[in-house]
């Protein structure tokens, strides 16, 4: 309860910052620092500044038109048509055409697209699938499907977003984007955004404290520390699912062993010790706030039942890898100890190691507050391509129950995404997936820009 209250306070603080009473000024450069790559997905902040999708999710997670102004499905969601917004131009002034969108989408996901075929029909795109695609409008908002086209410019790529890449992306440690004066969404308030990547959180906070950065990351496990340091922190609701992804081959081809692993993990300890009580313990794929039935998935550790399910079988040493930074590595070590208590021998290995990995600790972003689309996006990211067609809460529960009971993905925690900002940042809001929405940000200390 206290944890939820703390997050609520942060979200409330975010809402306050978004309730500007003086109109924003144009101009200025926002300086952002991140641990990862500013450009590469998932999470590359610059991508969404430069490129738009056919659809987008509003801060509440609802699907909204973007480069497509409307869409319709036929044939029981096997065929979708999306009509393009007229008059949109890329930053290099080339017109947005169906052919350009088709080429971009085809290049984006290759053989693993949710559709079988996409082709341009005039100023529209037609997607056809071998299986129904009920959540396609929401899926197309994913940054995997942002629309860009290659150019001869130093940046090598142009999009339709509110900012254009300035110069070469170089080694991806630094991205500078400039306001797109002719953006179909309107010219952003900021003149430029500089995103510096590969910056440790400690260095980010240092730069924020001395005025060299305006927006820095706050990992969930350091939110308490950030508040202690009196940083202005804004946090999303829990949108980042920490889960164990299990192989269904080798020793873990045995479903009972997978079920035993799920019962052996001590989620409470993970939450309390590693993530400083900043998340929500979960055994369901979707958070309680989306479904209302998460309590039907017990998250308690049950070593006795885990032993029982293992049935005396001692599998060979399992390999466990974690994707991400220090907290994820620590979490992996702790999970290995948990599994050892249940009779498993687990070796924590490097995720990049060229060997068979039985268990991978991963984070998945809940991108939509539409439960069906949110679940499908998580499953796709996990490599479990399942089309979620549930219409009612009971149907959705049944689907989720079947997926969770397969124990190929063991949900552990839902974590918020958080950022700290300098006092000059105005009107920062976080998207449905916790990403900062920088196109609406302005700076309070810029001299008013009187020139159009």
């Amino acid at each position: 309860m206290l944890r939820q209250a703390a997050i609520s306070i942060l979200v409330a603080a975010l809402a306050l910052s978004a309730s500007a009473r003086t109109r924003p000024h144009y101009g200025g450069t926002l300086r952002v620092e991140v641990e990862g790559d500013p450009w590469q997905r998932p999470g590359g902040m610059a991508r969404r500044l430069v490129m738009d999708g056919l659809t987008t999710l509003d801060p509440d997670g609802a699907v909204q038109p973007a480069l497509a102004i409307r869409w319709a499905s036929e044939n029981d969601d096997h065929r979708w048509q999306f009509w393009l917004r007229p008059g949109v131009r890329f930053q290099n002034d080339a017109a947005l055409t169906g052919a350009a969108v088709e080429a971009s989408l085809t290049a984006s996901c290759g053989a693993s697209c949710p559709w079988s075929v996409v082709h341009a029909v005039g100023a529209s795109l037609v997607f056809t699938g071998d299986s129904p695609m009920p959540n396609l409008p929401a899926l197309l908002a994913d940054d995997l499907y942002l629309i860009g086209t290659p150019t001869d410019s130093p940046a090598g790529l142009t999009g339709t977003g509110p900012f254009a890449l300035s110069g070469d992306l170089g080694n991806h440690n630094h991205a500078r984007v400039l306001a797109n004066e002719n953006c179909w969404r309107g010219r952003p308030f900021l003149d430029a955004i500089e995103i510096t990547g590969s910056r440790s959180v400690r260095d980010q906070w240092l730069d924020l404290s001395v005025g060299r950065a305006d927006l820095v990351e706050v990992p969930a496990e350091q939110m308490r520390q950030a508040r202690d340091q009196r940083l202005t922190v804004i946090a999303s609701p829990p949108v980042s699912l920490l889960a164990l992804s299990l192989s269904d081959s080798g020793a873990l081809a045995n479903p009972n062993l997978r079920a035993a692993l799920a019962l052996a993990v001590d989620r409470t300890a993970l939450s309390n010790v590693i993530f400083q009580k900043q998340g929500e313990i979960t055994a369901s794929l979707l958070p309680a706030s989306l479904t209302g039935y998460a309590f039907l998935f017990p998250a308690d550790r049950d070593l006795d039942k885990a032993h029982e399910l293992r049935g005396g079988v001692t599998p060979p040493t399992l390999t466990l890898a974690a994707e991400g930074g220090a907290a994820m590595q620590l979490a992996a070590q702790r999970i290995a100890l948990n599994l050892h208590d249940a009779g498993f021998s687990v070796q924590v290995v490097n995720a990049a190691a060229p060997q068979h990995i039985d268990l991978t600790l991963r984070r998945f972003t809940l991108e939509s507050s539409q439960p069906q689309a949110g679940m499908e996006s998580i499953l796709r990211a996990a490599g479990l391509a399942v089309s979620i067609r549930a219409q009612t809460p009971a149907e959705l529960y049944k689907t989720e129950r079947e997926i969770v009971d397969a124990h190929l993905l063991i949900p552990l925690l839902y974590l918020p995404r958080a950022f700290a900002v300098s006092g000059r940042v105005r009107d920062l809001r976080l998207g449905a997936d916790g990403t900062p929405l920088l196109d609406g940000v302005s700076l309070s200390d810029v001299q008013p820009d009187a020139a159009p």
Binding site: S8, S19, R21, T22, D60, G186, G292, Y293, A394, Y397
Partner: protein
């Protein structure tokens, strides 16, 4: 975009009294239908017999409602042949009153031996209304319209209300329970919207229609609802024409009582360029807001510059106004008849935790508060003088709860003498 005409509700601002926030809890009768539906599903699983019934509340339902819901469920189950019994029963029905972002969800876990089956029903969220306290020259606000999308400007007559949204113009007519949407037409901008879209709307000279100005666009339409089946006569065109600044009776710059003072708007930004029509006779800075103000020598024009400074044009001179540090970017003139007769209603600067509206008089070149701040439960995003000058219309954005859409209110602000 869904528009929800809202029943008029008044809020009275006084110094001494703050109305307590009220939340309307749903009447227990509202639970009859979901209780019956859940009982149906439980009975279908269990069949006739006995079951131990437990009930827990994980939702924000008031504890006072729980016994009534339990009674409803027991009665409904009994009517379907399932008798609530003690814990010794082989069957257990564990009912959880839960909720998600979209509403309430009631879940029944039906346990027969080692097998558990689940039933659930969705329950519509009960409406909740909030009143905000205020204090008070006494300012009152009256909510005309509540929407889930931004309203940039609105124009109200006795029978019609026209609301300008970023991409559409909507006509409402008065109904017994509030404003009812009659027609909606796209503005059809060819260029993208600005990040902080704005608009102005005034009556046509004959009073039968309206003229709306938006960034790069001008629209005109009828205040009459369309005949059945006919399209609403509303047309928009690309335009860089200056926008009407206020329902002007007398232009402070020309003295022409028939002229409407207009100003050129920077369609790529969110402010007026500083060029007026007719000309002010002095070079003006770019400004967000302007309001006409009676002055001893005629009319003055109060400008809220994009640099945050408020200045007054009178007798062809531009003079700084002090006492405006707490003002936001929006203000409008209100001809209340109280005090000096005309006040400036200004939004708050954002320094306080919540937005507010406050009346000021400017007898010389200093703004002097003439009311206490009226707290607004949201952010004022637009403010303009109504055509009769006797009220000010404000758009207030209410920040949404987590994962819900912001809502917007069009409020009429009036003042009464104290």
């Amino acid at each position: 975009m869904i528009m929800t005409p809202m029943k008029l509700c008044c809020m009275l601002a006084t110094i001494a009294f703050a109305l307590p926030a009220q939340q309307a809890a749903a009447a227990p009768a509202a639970w009859s239908q979901p209780a019956a539906a859940l009982a149906d599903q439980i009975a279908a699983i269990l069949g006739p017999g006995q079951a131990h019934l437990t009930l827990r509340n994980l939702s924000k339902l008031p504890a006072d409602d729980i016994p009534a819901i339990r009674r409803l469920l027991e009665d409904d189950l009994k009517a379907r042949g399932v008798q609530a019994s003690g814990a010794e029963s082989a069957n257990t029905v564990r009912i959880t009153l839960s909720e998600n972002l979209r509403g309430r969800l009631w879940v029944a876990e039906v346990m027969e031996g080692s097998e558990t089956r689940v039933a659930m029903v969705r329950v519509d969220a009960a409406g909740m209304e909030q009143q905000v306290p205020a204090s008070g020259l006494v300012l009152r606000t009256q909510t005309l319209l509540t929407t889930t999308g931004p309203v940039l400007a609105a124009l109200e007559t006795a029978d019609a209300l026209v609301a300008v949204e970023p991409e559409e113009i909507v006509l409402f007519t008065r109904a017994a329970d509030g404003w009812k949407e009659q027609a909606r037409a796209a503005i059809g901008q060819r260029k993208g919207l600005t990040q902080d879209p704005r608009s102005a709307i005034v009556f046509t000279h004959d009073g039968q229609g309206f003229e709306a100005s938006l960034a790069g666009m001008a629209c005109a339409g009828s205040l009459q609802p369309p005949q059945s089946g006919a399209p609403w006569p509303m047309h928009c065109r690309a335009s860089d024409d200056p926008w009407p600044l206020a329902p002007s009776q007398t232009s402070p710059t020309s003295g022409d009582s028939n002229a409407t003072l207009r100003a050129f708007y920077n369609a790529a930004r969110n402010y007026f360029t500083g060029v007026l029509n007719p000309s002010a006779g002095v070079d003006l800075p770019p400004f967000f807001t302007a309001a006409l103000l009676p002055r001893p020598d005629g009319a003055g024009l109060l400008l809220g510059g994009i640099n945050g400074k408020v200045q007054l044009i009178e007798t062809s001179a531009l003079k700084p106004v002090t006492g405006t540090r707490d003002w936001g970017s929006d203000f409008a003139a209100l001809h209340s008849g109280c005090g000096a007769g005309t006040q400036i209603i200004a939004s708050g600067s954002g320094e306080a935790l919540s937005d507010s509206l406050r009346a000021y008089e400017i007898p010389a070149l200093e703004a002097i508060p003439s009311s206490t701040p009226l707290t607004v439960d949201g952010a004022v995003t637009a403010l303009w003088t109504a055509p009769d000058g006797k009220s000010v219309l404000a758009v207030v954005r209410h920040a949404a709860a987590q994962n819900q859409a912001d809502t917007y209110e069009v409020d009429r602000v009036t003042a009464s003498c104290n």
